[in-house]
């Protein structure tokens, strides 16, 4: 059984996926209601009786019964009938269909189809991610807003609109449709963004961020398990997630402070995730397409290829960043590339690259651009300039862990004995 801590969220996502298949996306609101009812009943019952042996089955049974009750009541009101009859001819047929729900057999497929429905390219990427979190992962508006440091009202509006759009689709997305390939890349992109929000994101709550990474990995694993979606890019995406997740235990110190890649205690990397990530990277090396996921996973893999950070193969990493700039250029990629160049060719050269980043004004609010300037200035001994950059970064810090990290770097500007003042 899965750890109990995610039980309700995960099961809510599964129930919504399966019941949406049976009742149709047009009845998404009804489905979400009955799933919430089932979760409430479970809470009220289990808090006293304790959790049953198969909580998932208990919840699904309860949700099925509630759904049939609601359907019966509302059918007489003729509210849902018009939509539902497209899917089922009568209550009896519906009951038969509901009775046939076999969680083990259909849930992964149901979740996949709902995920594809959520990642409609006509919705913005933010909306797709919010929808996935709301419907498939069981997060509340407040939790999503907190994860993305967005305003509650804005997130609520975004989700409400996106759900209305989704409910307007006639049926769940067919995995074999013509525009399947386009959808698959939207799904991959949404999961990539979801993972990144957890990994690099701005939420102050480390557990929230670990959950975002977990959810992204769980859903990406569904893609990797289905023959229709198990493409090289999917493996590369999974590899990237596994390799990064392997570093999570070392990335956040027990106090919640960020640790730089080069200073991490590498013995704390998760070996199981690391091996799985390498295996997936090998599995992704087929076909003709070289995606940004392939390149990012390869970069992560090189960083993790040695226990000794001094032996990091920086030239190969720079070459991969060059390729990444061709496939999916962005100021953040350019920033990482400049830091890799600094490792090969020295701080001076790195600074030139940093100052030459196209669109670097898009990094103006990103603390790690100023921090990178500070790092390289410190390396070449200009402590006062370095301190000024770190102070700029500090004003942009988005959470206490980032603030503590930058304060430590500011302190290092004053005391670093390896760096003679010029």
């Amino acid at each position: 059984m899965e750890p109990l801590e995610h039980l309700f969220r995960r099961e809510a996502g599964r129930m919504v996926a399966t019941l949406t298949r049976v009742f149709g996306v047009a009845n998404l609101a009804l489905v979400e209601d009955v799933v919430q009812d089932a979760v409430c009943r479970a809470l009220e019952t289990w808090k006293i009786r304790g959790v049953p042996d198969d909580p998932g089955a208990w919840l699904m049974r309860t949700a099925k019964n509630r759904a049939l009750d609601r359907f019966r009541r509302e059918q007489t009101a003729r509210v849902y009938e018009a939509q539902v009859t497209r899917h089922v001819e009568s209550e009896q047929a519906l009951r038969a269909q509901v009775d046939e729900i076999d969680p083990a057999a259909t849930i992964p497929d149901d979740q996949l189809r709902l995920m594809f429905s959520c990642c409609d390219p006509r919705l913005t990427e933010e909306s797709q991610v919010a929808l996935v979190l709301s419907i498939l992962c069981g997060f509340s508006v407040a939790e999503i807003a907190s994860a993305f440091l967005s305003r509650h009202e804005a997130v609520k509006k975004r989700i409400t609109r996106a759900k209305a759009h989704l409910a307007g689709s006639k049926k769940l997305f067919e995995l074999s449709d013509d525009d399947f390939a386009e959808r698959l890349s939207s799904v991959q992109r949404a999961l990539y963004l979801l993972f990144n929000e957890g990994f690099h994101g701005s939420s102050t709550d480390a557990t929230v961020r670990a959950e975002l990474c977990d959810e992204a990995m769980r859903l990406a694993a569904l893609l990797a398990e289905n023959p229709l979606t198990a493409k090289p890019a999917t493996f590369a995406l999974c590899s990237l997630m596994f390799l990064n997740a392997a570093r999570l235990p070392a990335r956040l110190e027990p106090s919640g402070d960020l640790t730089q890649l080069l200073d991490q205690d590498r013995s704390r990397w998760d070996q199981r995730l690391l091996c799985e990530g390498q295996r997936l990277l090998e599995a992704s090396a087929m076909g003709k397409e070289l995606t940004a996921y392939h390149l990012e996973a390869a970069i992560a893999s090189l960083h993790m290829s040695t226990r000794d950070p001094q032996r990091t193969p920086w030239r190969e990493i720079v070459a991969l960043y060059d390729a990444l700039m061709r496939v999916r250029p962005s100021p953040v990629v350019a920033l990482s590339r400049a830091l890799a160049i600094a490792q090969c060719e020295g701080a001076e050269r790195g600074l030139l690259e940093l100052h030459a980043i196209a669109d670097r004004e898009r990094l103006a609010a990103y603390p790690f651009y100023a921090a990178a300037l500070g790092e390289l200035e410190l390396e070449r001994g200009r402590r006062d300039v370095a301190r000024a950059h770190y102070q700029t970064a500090l004003t942009l810090a988005r959470n206490p862990a980032e603030r503590r990290f930058l304060e430590r770097r500011i302190a290092a500007c004053a005391t670093d004995p390896d760096t003679p003042e010029k």
Binding site: F8, R9, V39, A42, E44, K47, I48, R49, G138, E143
Partner: protein, 110 residues
């Protein structure tokens, strides 16, 4: 050792999200685990539905509600404790208070 019934009253608003439901349930499970480990739980007891029927009056009329939403008894647990003061102290750690409910501690007659 005496026996007590804990009657849980009220305090069951709808959770905002599955995650909140989870956290709430966890606090109850932890509370029960603690009392169980210390040997206080005679019987975890059972939760009660909100809806039901009332039979009342000389005519023994059967009605279904209305029930007071507040203070409705929503569950019962049987507890072993040395005395009422001790049992009440155990009840103070119950998570029902977090949602605005209360625990009625009633000695069981023997």
């Amino acid at each position: 050792m005496a026996q007590f019934a804990f009657l849980y009253r009220g305090g069951d608003p709808i959770p905002d999200s599955p995650a909140e439901a989870q956290q709430r349930m966890q606090r109850w499970l932890d509370w029960f685990a603690d009392l169980t480990a210390k040997g206080y739980i005679k019987d975890r007891g059972f939760p009660l539905e909100r809806a039901g029927a009332t039979v009342a009056g000389s005519g023994r009329a059967i009605t279904d509600g209305p029930y007071p939403e507040k203070d409705l008894v929503l569950g019962v647990t049987l507890v072993d404790a040395p005395d009422l003061a001790h049992a009440s102290e155990l009840a103070r750690a119950c998570p029902v208070f977090e949602q605005g409910g209360c625990v009625e501690v009633r000695p069981i007659r023997t």
